[in-house]
Amino acid sequence: MLADMVGGGAVAWWVWPVGLFIVTFALGIIAVLGGVGGGVLFVPIVGGFFPFHLDFVRGAGLLLALCSALAAAPRLLNGGLASLNLATPLALSASIASIAGALASFYVPTQVLQVVLGFGILAIAALMWREPAAAKASHVGDRLARALHMHGVFHDSSTGRDIDWTVHRTPAGLVAFAGIGFVGGMFGLGAGWANVPALNLLMGAPLKLAVGSSGLVISLSNSSAAWVYIQSGAVLPLLAVPSILGVMLGSRIGARMLLVARTATIRRVICGVMVLAGLRSLLRGLGI
């Protein structure tokens, strides 16, 4: 749309990275305020409204989700908000699948990718429209969780209490993370929108620990898939670097605005933008 209005190649090359920086800076702010990852907004919006081919957009989306996750992970681990024991087995499953997803994406016709992405984004927007549900933390782990030491003590600073946690349905969790990793690798999406429900609702991890550990999983699965994009030549620095910088700077500003912003309203606005971007991707894929 934006690309059509200005004719793609008719404008100076530098307009696009500058525009990308401005858009991703705004995405970084609203992503934090809306409690979503920047990656899930970046691919449909930039893929739908900028002139870049989806191959390069997916590569950039994967990298910006990776950089955001890497930057946040040390603080989350040191603050006890993420667990390496919980994340490692799930990330292994997600990493293998994300490589498969990234590889498969280069053999699927672009139109098919755009249609599937469009449907996927519309489904994610529908999920996000509902208030996020939270399950109670599990206190009885399954055999696999015990064998892998997927348990610990989580200090909830909002209540001041220590919570003994473990997880259940670990085999189902491993399968779920394989599916999420495949989708993440294929579309270059950050996968927090799926990781957190899988950890909390399916496996019974405390919600805050699920949010933090989801970032650890993304940092690992996206590292694996990122190599496939690098080796395939699908990383365009003029697209990827301004996007990474824009989202990272925007998310810092967003974190400062978190205290005064009406996050529920912003979440609804994000859903609206995602519906537009999803429809745009769908129509592009269908050649309409």
């Binding site: 024991n85 690992l220 190599w227 670097v241």
Partner: protein, 137 residues
């Protein structure tokens, strides 16, 4: 109590190495990007050509520009655009390096399960980085 202290040590070590590696990777990425756009290093693909080329699928982009695939970018580090891939590669390697460091913590405390998982994660990342796994339409 011992197990908890040991686990915290693994997480603290992982977090420390992740933080350092990410700082180095992001620093390299930002520095190389400014060298690229400031014209300090000539790019492989001229800026003026990009608006036509970035609309193409990656396989056609590679065919028309002679852009490197696999580990070919290492031989092109003198070009401003491909110097940026070094920063991207560093960032994509941080988790493998951090796991390699944590592996020693797991081995020292005899935690075979987590040592095996760390090795498996490193192997997966190395397989992805090997260049044997690349695609294109």
């Amino acid at each position: 109590m011992t197990a908890r202290v040991a686990r915290d040590e693994a997480e603290a070590t992982y977090a420390r190495w992740l933080a350092r590696g990410t700082q180095i990777g992001l620093g390299a990425l930002v520095a190389s990007f400014f060298a690229y756009v400031a014209g300090l290093l000539a790019p492989l693909v001229p800026f003026g050509e990009l608006p036509r080329l970035w609309q193409l699928p990656v396989a056609q982009f590679v065919a028309q520009t002679g852009a490197p695939t696999g580990w070919g970018w290492l031989a092109r580090l003198g070009a401003g655009d491909y110097l940026n891939i070094l920063g991207v590669a560093l960032l994509s390697s941080v988790t493998a390096v951090a796991y390699a460091r944590v592996l020693f913590v797991y081995l020292r405390r005899g935690d075979r399960w987590h040592a095996a998982l760390a090795v498996a994660q490193i192997v997966v990342l190395l397989a992805a980085a090997s260049g044997l796994l690349a695609g294109g339409r």
